[in-house]
């Protein structure tokens, strides 16, 4: 089948349409359609990934129109990997969150599935597209659906959190659009590969510099790099849990992918590191983001809020690593896109399971969880260890590449920040483990002594188990991933 790249994106789009229709006939039908659509798109993504591994970059022309007139989906090793990641996580999360959705928003379930699929369409499109303006439109599709879904969450606070997200998200997207405008003035093209070729001759131009700064600034706002992060913790913490655990691992990671794509493919690493003199400043920004995220996470008393600040910290890893200016740092940043998506997803799956059983995840509500939900907590501990960076898990390996890259670039402050934040994460997670393991259940829960087992449903546990296995697998095969996917992409 040679239409597979289009199927990846179109399956959830059609799925969203039919889910909406099916809700008129029978409510549960919309869930099964969503499940089928994301399954089709993940199968197609795996097929495309295999094809790209053997045959190289796949340039798919939409409706047969050749670029630069037509729209092109350009899939190389990097975005083939991200496509598998996004569609896989979307599918697994859908399996796990049907119970959460039924519990939290039973009356809006079918609209949730429609928006969910449109969100996945946006993410997959952002990843697959080879056109700068389409990237803008798809980013906005992703953002619009996430605004609406965040507003479905907590009754008191989520509409305001979503509105603040809109204000900042619009500024980010508008900056990106403006940058694309400047690129269009100077090159007259919107196709990424085309623009890259045309930019080679006009590297000194101020318009290109303006375009670069505006595009990168827009993407930074969307990915919540530290001083621009204010919208993220509230938005993700008050979203319904079925959505929070797909937006938290994917949205920021896909935006990091966009940054890497702009740096590597469109503007070119030579332009960024030789012509511009910004790399040092951005590595410092990454350092500040890492430390600020880690220390703000220390102040939180709610598990969900704490995890959102850890995301802010992880963004610092990826941005700093990508700007170190050597292939080790860039490889570490790209590997961390994959690893961090898996780790954050596992953590939020565990949080979803706890919320399903206990409704709240404030630290004061977590006593006795190891006794009550041993399987969930096993997954949580594994993901926590991965965030800290304990060797058999995947978190260790991306940090290893990042530290190696930092030493090679002479950015010792970045290496120090990585280590300090790992220590802070250790403190954070062991604080949670201690509450869950050692503190006895409060009297008000009506239990005495050891708590009875009250584990989450099997589908949720299966999803968590699968992702935990993936964390170990990505750790064990980290070298293979770097050698077969990331380094060939960079050279």
């Amino acid at each position: 089948m040679n239409n597979m790249p289009a199927i990846i994106v179109l399956a959830p789009l059609l799925g969203a349409f039919f889910s909406g229709l099916a809700a008129w006939i029978q409510k549960p039908l919309s869930y099964y359609i969503a499940l089928a659509a994301t399954a089709v798109s993940s199968v197609a993504a795996v097929g495309v990934f295999k094809q790209v591994l053997t045959a190289g970059t796949w340039q798919y022309r939409m409706a047969g129109w050749a670029p630069p007139m037509g729209i092109e989906l350009r899939i190389d090793l990097l975005n083939a990997m991200v496509l598998v990641l996004v569609s896989g996580i979307a599918f697994v999360n859908l399996v796990a969150s049907v119970k959460n959705v039924d519990q939290e928003i039973p009356d809006r379930a079918s609209s949730f599935y429609v928006m969910y699929q449109l969100f996945v369409v946006g993410l997959l499109g952002v990843t697959a597209t080879g056109d700068l303006f389409n990237l803008y439109v798809l980013i906005e599709i992703t953002s619009l659906t996430s605004y609406t879904m965040i507003a479905l969450g907590d009754k008191d606070r989520s509409p305001l959190a979503a509105l603040n997200y809109i204000f900042i998200g619009v500024i980010g997207a508008s900056f990106y659009l403006l940058g694309v405008g400047y690129l269009y003035i100077t090159t007259g093209s919107l196709n990424m590969a085309d623009v890259a070729i045309l930019l080679k001759d006009i590297q000194g131009s101020t318009a290109v510099l303006t375009a670069f700064i505006l595009c990168i600034l827009g993407v930074w706002i969307k990915m919540a790099l530290f001083p621009l992060h204010v919208w993220l913790p509230n938005a993700y913490a008050y979203a319904p849990v079925g959505f929070a655990r797909v937006v938290a691992p994917l949205m920021t990671k896909v935006m990091v992918y966009v940054m890497v794509r702009l740096m590597v493919t469109v503007f070119g690493l030579e332009y960024i590191f030789n012509t511009l003199n910004l790399a040092d400043i951005v590595v410092w920004l990454g350092v500040i983001a890492i430390l600020a995220g880690a220390f703000m996470a220390l102040l939180q008393t709610d598990l969900k809020k704490m995890l959102t600040y850890i995301i802010v910290c992880e963004i610092g890893y990826m941005v700093g690593g990508a700007w170190l200016g050597n292939s080790l740092g860039m490889a570490g940043a790209i590997l961390h896109i994959l690893n961090d998506a898996l780790m954050t997803f596992a953590l939020f799956l565990a949080v979803g399971n706890i919320i399903y059983m206990r409704q709240q995840v404030a630290f004061s509500n977590l006593q006795g969880l190891f006794g009550a939900m041993p399987w969930t907590m096993a997954g949580f501990v594994l993901a926590g260890l991965s965030i800290i960076g304990v060797p058999p898990t995947c978190g260790f390996f991306s940090k290893w590449y990042l530290v190696l890259g930092a030493f090679e670039a002479g950015a010792y402050h970045f290496a120090a920040a990585l280590i300090i934040s790992s220590l802070v994460c250790a403190v954070l997670f062991f604080k949670v483990f201690e509450i869950c393991f050692f503190e006895p259940m409060a009297e008000s829960h009506g239990h005495h002594g050891t708590a009875a087992m009250a584990e989450a449903p099997v589908s949720m546990l299966a999803a968590l188990g699968l992702v935990s296995a993936a964390i170990i697998g990505a750790g064990v095969y980290a070298g293979t991933i770097v050698n077969t996917v990331i380094l060939p992409f960079l050279h």
Partner: protein, 131 residues
């Protein structure tokens, strides 16, 4: 001074869009009422739309269609003689995006108003901290 003036006059569309953008940004940051912030947001987006439309324009240029046509002798217009349609077409999409964002934001405002009976940010903050 004269050079600066000449620069401003020659590139007036760029100056205009920057001024409009800054008005929008100011409203989004400084205004207390959520509706006013939304209006600021819309001005911000419109500034970028105006920027795009202005870069496609040429003085004395014509439409990008085939001259003559229908039975007479066809002639394709030279590229230098017609207005670049692409930025305008792109902006149709961008307008749709901005309308959609504005709609979602207004729906959220309605939700907030139903919940708290106010759209003033400082009052909202007080109500939220009371919880």
């Amino acid at each position: 001074m004269n050079e600066l003036l000449a620069l401003i006059v020659a590139k007036y569309n760029f100056w205009l869009y920057i001024i409009l953008m800054m008005i929008g940004l100011y409203a989004m940051i400084a205004k207390n009422n959520l509706m006013k912030k939304l209006v600021g947001m819309n001005i911000f987006q419109t500034a970028i739309i105006l920027f795009y439309v202005s870069i496609g324009y040429k003085h004395g240029a014509t439409l990008p269609i085939i001259q003559g046509g229908h039975g007479t002798h066809d002639a394709v217009i030279h590229a230098a003689d017609y207005i670049n349609p692409l930025p305008h077409v792109l902006m149709l999409t961008a307008i749709v995006v901005s309308v959609a964002t504005f709609g979602v934001a207004m729906a959220l405002c309605v939700k907030i108003y139903q919940r708290y009976q106010t759209l003033e940010e400082d009052e909202l903050r007080i109500r939220l901290s009371e919880k």
